[in-house]
């Protein structure tokens, strides 16, 4: 590969395209373009209604600037009380149920039948979102925070057990091996080799889920499962945008506080 003076080099260069086959590349571009045009076209907008609604939008922005905490304070307090207690209770119960299911769903320590059952529970819990589960639980348990509690606990299981199982499957096998080599039984392996490795992350995930559960508790009230969401829904129905803004500001503040403190706790744990 000697570079003699006579060697001539190309004077053009184009970057190799991401999709190598030209027809496929163009088909993808064209398909995306057509889909975009058609779906934008299918969105029907009633501009008269939007124009009329702008006035409400302005009132809502005003509500944010001057939120009204006082006139619905009682309702807000009850809603918050329900949301917060629902969040704590469902996280605790959810974590307690998630741990055995998570262990059962880890392929490296669970026997196959248990693994299959636990994975099925996780899949069931993950495939339905909170709001749909809440609709069903409200129909079963009646309106109120208990239905919300059930919903959030159920959702926590899918989230936490899955991540826990993945964590256990990812653990350093040599440590488990070392404990197994001492002749330890199954429980001892879980206790000495697995628990120390996954415990910090389990606590971190639980705190994260606490955070999520609070946010969700603000939503499921819309379908009657109690909490601040119900209060918010009522405020919106009554066109009390300044109260609604007050509730939203409270939600944002609590979420911020929760995020900040859980980050702090996680740092402190490590």
């Amino acid at each position: 590969m000697s570079a003699s003076a006579a060697t001539s080099y190309p004077r053009t260069w184009t970057r190799p395209p991401f999709v190598k086959r030209a027809w496929l590349r163009w088909a993808l571009y064209l398909g995306a373009l057509v889909y975009l045009i058609v779906s934008v076209g299918s969105v029907e907008v009633n501009w008269v209604r939007v124009w009329e609604g702008l006035d409400r939008g302005v009132r809502f922005v005003q509500g944010f600037l001057v939120p009204d905490f006082t006139s619905r304070w009682e309702d807000i307090l009850i809603g918050m009380e329900e949301s917060l207690t629902m969040t704590v209770a469902s996280t605790v119960v959810g974590v307690l149920i998630s741990v055995p299911i998570g262990i059962g769903a880890a392929r490296n320590i669970a026997p196959l039948p248990i693994y299959a059952i636990c994975r099925a529970i996780i899949a069931l819990s993950r495939s339905f979102q909170e709001i749909i589960v809440a609709i069903l639980f409200v129909a079963m348990f009646g309106f109120g925070p208990l239905a919300g509690f059930m919903t959030l606990s159920f959702a926590t299981i899918g989230f936490l057990a899955k991540l826990l199982a993945e964590d256990i499957e990812d653990i350093d096998e040599s440590q488990a091996e070392a404990v197994r080599a001492t002749g330890a039984g199954w429980w001892q392996i879980v206790n000495y080799a697995i628990q120390p490795q996954v415990m910090p992350r389990l606590i971190g995930l639980s705190l994260y889920r606490l955070d999520i559960n609070f946010r969700e508790s603000a939503v499921i009230g819309i379908v009657g499962a109690g909490g601040i969401g119900a209060t918010l829904n009522t405020a919106m129905d009554r066109y009390e945008y300044d109260s609604a803004a007050a509730i939203l500001i409270l939600i944002i503040l609590i979420v911020m506080a929760a995020e900040y403190s859980s980050g702090y706790v996680r740092k402190w744990l490590q």
Binding site: M1, A3, T7, Y9, P10, R11, T12, W13, T14, R15, P16
Partner: protein, 285 residues
């Protein structure tokens, strides 16, 4: 060609990285800059193209005073100064060709560079350089698919694509094995000879410096403590630069394991490096 006058750098943290450094580099001269970690080697060469802003002192490239330049002027000056980095510093997700062509960025407008429409001469030159460093077979590979030695060759080609008047080379072999290190050093020195290109090479491996470079500058705690030919490097000089140690095995003998000769860090070097990192990021804003 390059002249530093009373160059000093004090980082925001209060660390004195360079104190009153004056030196000049003649055309075609390749200088090896040695010294313990934290002595200010990286800071010195980064001051030349103002990746690190010097605190005081003047830098002249030919007749141009780099220290006095505005933003636009500095960009123009940087085009004339090629730089080769310790960890290759290739943009890993771009192709080899894009990395080499990025040496041309100072000469083309944004939209041309955005659509990768570089002038034909630049592309021809890039192919020629890739051939020169032995990478013509890898033009369209992504940079992160190459080995360490290959990546450093791309780094060299990128610097040369700038058609520079001066090369700044920061620890070119620090991440390479001894054999590749020597190949890369040889390539750099050969290319500098071919083009009559002056260069400053930061290097921690004293033996490597002695083998390839005709003039060596020793830096200790931000001050120049030695400036001379490799032959003058004796135990006394090395002690002055690095501190007390048995130097008999280092002098004029290539250390085959390629380990650092001066890895006993000065205190405060960590802060230097951290401060340097911060200044690097400042380039983004």
């Amino acid at each position: 060609m390059l002249r530093l006058e009373g160059l000093s750098k004090v980082y925001g943290t209060g660390d004195r990285a360079l104190t009153d450094v004056s030196l000049s580099v003649e055309p075609g001269q390749v200088i090896g800059l040695i010294g313990p970690s934290g002595a200010g080697k990286s800071t010195l060469i980064r001051c030349v193209n103002r990746l690190v802003e010097p605190t005081s002192g003047k830098i002249f490239l030919g007749d141009l005073e780099i220290t006095g330049l505005s933003r636009g002027g500095l960009r123009q000056a940087r085009r004339r100064i090629g730089m080769i980095f310790q960890e290759y510093a290739l943009v890993e997700r771009l192709t080899v060709m894009e990395n080499v062509l990025s040496g041309r960025l100072g000469y083309v407008g944004f939209w041309r560079s955005f659509f990768r429409k570089f002038p034909p001469e630049a592309i021809e030159n890039a192919y020629r350089l890739l051939d020169r460093v032995g990478l013509s077979a890898h033009v369209n590979k992504r940079a992160d698919a190459l080995s360490g030695g290959q990546r450093q060759r791309v780094g060299i080609a990128r610097a040369l694509e700038q058609d520079p008047d001066l090369l700044l080379i920061d620890e070119p072999t620090a991440s390479l094995d001894p054999k590749t290190s020597r190949q890369i050093m040889r390539l750099i020195v050969e290319i500098c000879d071919e083009r009559g290109l002056p260069a400053i090479i930061n290097i921690h491996d004293v033996a490597l410096a002695q083998q390839f470079v005709r003039r060596i500058i020793g830096l200790q705690a931000g001050k120049v403590v030695f400036d001379g030919s490799p032959d003058e490097l004796d135990a006394d000089v090395l002690t002055k630069i690095y501190g007390e140690e048995d130097w008999s095995a280092t002098i004029r003998k290539v250390d085959e394991d390629g380990e650092e000769a001066g890895d006993d860090d000065d205190e405060g070097s960590e802060e230097h490096i951290a401060a340097l990192d911060r200044e690097r990021l400042a380039g983004l804003t």
